[in-house]
Each structure stands twice: as structure tokens, then as C-alpha cells.
Amino acid sequence: MLINCPYCGPRDLSEFSYQGDGNRTRPDPASTDQAEWNAYVYDRTNIAGDHNEIWQHAGGCRAHLRLTRNTLTHKITSVSFARDERHKKPHGHRRSGAHS
């Protein structure tokens, strides 16, 4: 498996470390909603097909990457810097006070 790092170019799988399922959204750190946290920590969509996931180029530029990779064939169809979407995250900054 080769991963085409947007900064370093195509590199071998052994340079990368898998950070996991990219479909999960971390709840607001101030949230005390137990069901929401449980779902974040334990529940997975575990898709057979195109999977949205986070890798780190740990043995290279160390950037975190968002990949679309098919879990049935291992074919990678998109790679981008995870940081580019920071602004899209619903809980990217810490809010004060609990919310439901």
C-alpha cells in the first residue's frame, strides 16, 4: 500500500501510522452528555467500502492526513491534510459551560 502524502509524495505504508476512523466527531470537551461520549469512544460504523480515516505520516513530515480508502480493496481515492478542515469541525474550539 502506498499513500500519496500531499507534502512528501507517494511513500510506503510503513512510514505511516493509523490514527483510526475519521467518521467520529469528538463531543464538546465541556459536554457531560454520557451517551454522546460513549458513542464517540465505543461505537464505530466499520464500513465495508470507502472509509474515511485519519493517518499520520509519522516517519516523514508528521502531518495528519485524511484518507478515503476502500476497506475491501485497500485502494486509496483521496488524501488531504486533516488540518485543512479544522474550520469545519463543529467543536474545534473549547466552549465554556456544558451544553446538551
Binding site: 483510526g20 465505543y42 460504523t45 466499520n46 465495508a48 472509509h51 475491501l72
Partner: protein, 419 residues
């Protein structure tokens, strides 16, 4: 008289081996059953067998999408052990061990269960202390365990590098003498034949494509061979759990499917008396009765439903094997393969009623499903027949994750690739 015996062997030899019956029939699916078991692997087949044997429920179909034994029951490294730490795990795997010890006799089918022992090597004093703790827990739970020093280990495994100059010197080991190996295909075939002889229909090449529902209740399945109805639908599909449960509308589970590779070398004269595992990383190796080294290591480490792996892990596994046994450097590899593991969030399985009415779920075997085959089927059959778990599988619920009562043997938390 048993169907397979010394006498029947002799009789059939004298009559030209023309009278053997196939080990199981190839029936067409009936329109309805009392119980449908989805998945014709080890666990599905043993579930059907114990439903018939222990609970008298014989109007059962086992649906298998491929051929029998094409999944993980034919892809593992055949190791049987019960060297666990927590009481819930010890109770379950000790029950499995007792079923293994009588399995060939029970099935009238030689599963070649060989109690040659498993030895876990420790490479640091802390690891050795941890093994002592685990050994004590095993003995406390009714199992067997012995701590060995490097001299005893060197006598058992002459080829093993126990020198002080090794990168990870061996400081001791934990031996479970009752552990061993079994012929994995024979386990599938034996259970299939046992279930078939009791009236269970084993239907191969029959892929479940959806679930029939009456409101919330599951009332059957749609398959590549038509609709089949049943009062109870039991799912035991290991690595395909995520995919199959989505067909029932269950989108999220505490499961990730991961890839595990295994390897077999060319045949050698006997060199490994039992199963031995390396504690500096993660490697387990034994020698098959044909002489091949059978071994494996860690998961590839990313979500996958592909039954094939990548090369970095191959290199890692080979390096670990050579760190243990430098003499194996010139042994040639015969074949390798990959299987899909249903990795749960605490490394322990799930055997439960639900999550929908009329449905039963058996999954989360990580990469330890083979040794659990008898107890898994035994407990799952009880759960299906009585609509409640046996006390042995009662802790292995689906909701334990959200209730905070995990059974996390390795203490890794919800990082399935590390279990």
C-alpha cells in the same frame, strides 16, 4: 455403532470404500425454520450442533455465503488455550477447554486436539511478574499454569535463543500445559457433520442479503437463494459483523474489522514441541503435524475487510520469528493468507440476545475466536434456546461498553488495533 470407528474403517476398506456417506447433506433451504444461524464458520456450526444436542432444537438452518470453512475457521493458527486473567474470561475459556478435551469423542470425528502446551516468553522482570500474576489467576480459576526459568525453557526449546546477548533476553516464561492445537478444518467439518446428523440443514453458497421484519422484530432473512423465515435469527459472522448488521439497520457497533495475516513454512523435522509466543513483540508459532511452522503476529493495524495483507507486517513477523529462532532464517515460507477479525473495543467477545427482538448476536472475537469455538457455540445455543444468556456468557453483553463494565484483558481501552 459409531459411524466412524476402527471397525467401519476395516469394513469399508474391504468393500472398496464405496459406502461412505458424505459428511453432510446439501439440502435446499426450506421456507421456514425455528432458528436460522447466519454464518457457517466454526461458531455458527457449533451453535447449530449444541442447539440440536443440548436443547433438542433441530429445525435449524445454517446459512453460509461461501463454502463451509472458507472464513476464519480455516484461516487461523489453530491454537487452543485458556491463559486469561479476569474471572469472566477464565470461566468462559476453561469451559471451552473442557469441551475441547472431549470434542473428538463427542463428535465421533478426530479434530486432532493435541495438548502440547503453550509457553509465553517474558523478556523483562516486570513482564515475568505479570505472568506470575496471570498464572496465579489461572490456577485460582481451576486452570493449569507453571512458571519456567530460562534453563527449563532452553531444555524444552533447543533452537530458542535464550542467550544473554539477545536483543530481548528471555528471563522466564509462563507455561499452560493443557493448551495446544487442533486441526481447524476438522473442527468445522466435525461440527457440520454432527449438526447435520441431528437434522440441521447446512446451506452453503447462500448469502444473506437482508432481514425480514415485522415492525422491530426480525422474522427471517432474504438470501441469494430466496426468503427464509424463522422465529429466531442468530448472527455469527465474525469479521463480517459490521456489514451484516447494517442490513438489519444497526449502523454502529463497538466493533472494527481488521486484518490478520498468518504463515506456514515448508515441512521440517520436529523442532517445536508446543506453541511458543514471543513477548518482546507479538508472535506465536507452533509446528503442524505435517511439520510446517504455523505462525502469526500482530494485526496489520487499519480497518479492512480484504482477506489479504500488506508487506510491512510480513517483514515484522519474520523478524520476530528470527529473533526467537535464528536457525529458521533459511527455512522457506510456503504460503501466507489474511483473515478479517471482528475487533471489539475491549478485546472480549459479545454473545447476547438482541439487539433487535428475534435476533441474537455473537461477535467481537478479535483474533482469539478459534479456541472459543466450542464454548461460543455452547453458550450461544443456550442464549438462543432460553432467550437469556447462560451465567458463563452473561458478562459478554453488547451494552457493557456504555455501562462501563468492560472486560479488557490487556488494558488497552477502546483501541481495537491494539487488542
Amino acid at each position: 455403532m459409531a459411524e466412524y470407528s476402527a471397525f467401519s474403517l476395516l469394513k469399508n476398506a474391504l468393500t472398496g470404500n464405496r459406502d461412505w456417506k458424505p459428511a453432510w447433506r446439501k439440502p435446499d433451504p426450506k421456507p421456514s425454520y425455528d432458528v436460522i444461524v447466519v454464518g457457517g464458520g466454526g461458531h455458527g456450526l457449533s451453535t447449530a450442533y449444541y442447539l440440536a444436542k443440548e436443547h433438542g432444537i433441530t429445525n435449524v438452518a445454517v446459512l453460509e455465503k461461501g463454502w463451509l470453512g472458507s472464513g476464519n475457521v480455516g484461516r487461523n493458527t489453530t491454537i487452543v488455550r485458556s491463559n486469561y486473567l479476569y474471572p469472566q474470561s477464565i470461566r468462559f475459556y476453561e469451559h471451552s477447554m473442557r469441551l475441547w478435551e472431549n470434542l473428538s469423542h463427542d463428535l465421533n470425528y478426530n479434530v486432532m486436539f493435541s495438548q502440547r502446551g503453550i509457553l509465553n516468553l517474558a523478556h523483562t522482570p516486570a513482564q515475568f511478574d505479570d505472568y506470575a500474576r496471570r498464572g496465579n489467576a489461572m490456577r485460582h480459576g481451576g486452570g493449569d499454569a507453571e512458571l519456567l526459568d530460562p534453563d527449563q525453557i532452553a531444555r524444552l526449546y533447543p533452537g530458542l535463543d535464550v542467550s544473554a546477548s539477545a536483543r530481548f533476553p528471555v528471563v522466564g516464561g509462563l507455561l499452560q500445559p493443557k493448551a495446544g492445537t487442533a486441526r481447524h478444518d476438522a473442527v468445522a467439518w466435525g461440527y457440520a457433520r454432527g449438526a447435520d446428523r441431528r437434522g440441521v440443514d447446512i446451506i452453503e453458497n447462500c448469502e444473506v442479503t437482508g432481514f425480514l421484519r415485522d415492525g422491530d422484530r426480525i422474522t427471517g432473512v432474504t438470501t441469494s437463494r430466496g426468503e427464509i423465515r424463522a422465529a429466531k435469527v442468530a448472527v455469527a459472522v465474525a469479521g463480517s459483523t459490521g456489514h451484516v448488521m447494517k442490513l438489519a439497520g444497526i449502523d454502529k457497533l463497538p466493533i472494527e474489522s481488521h486484518l490478520l495475516q498468518a504463515f506456514v513454512s515448508e515441512s521440517l523435522k520436529p523442532i517445536l514441541p508446543g506453541v511458543i509466543t514471543w513477548g518482546g513483540g507479538h508472535l506465536y508459532v507452533s509446528q503442524s503435524d505435517k511439520g510446517g511452522l504455523v505462525f502469526g503476529g500482530d494485526l496489520d493495524g487499519y480497518n479492512s475487510y480484504a482477506q489479504r495483507g500488506n508487506l510491512p507486517l510480513v517483514e515484522e513477523v519474520m523478524s520476530e520469528l528470527l529473533a526467537m529462532f535464528p536457525a529458521f532464517a533459511r527455512v522457506r515460507l510456503l504460503r501466507s493468507w489474511g483473515g478479517v477479525m471482528d475487533m471489539s473495543m475491549d478485546g472480549s467477545p459479545i454473545i447476547t440476545t438482541g439487539p433487535l427482538p428475534g435476533m441474537y448476536l455473537n461477535c467481537g472475537w478479535c483474533y482469539g475466536g478459534f479456541k472459543a469455538t466450542p464454548a461460543s457455540g455452547w453458550c450461544f445455543a443456550h442464549t438462543i434456546a432460553r432467550d437469556e444468556p447462560h451465567e458463563i456468557n452473561a458478562p459478554f453483553t453488547l451494552d457493557r461498553f456504555h455501562r462501563g463494565i468492560l472486560i479488557d484483558e490487556k488494558g488497552q481501552g477502546s483501541t481495537p488495533k491494539l487488542h
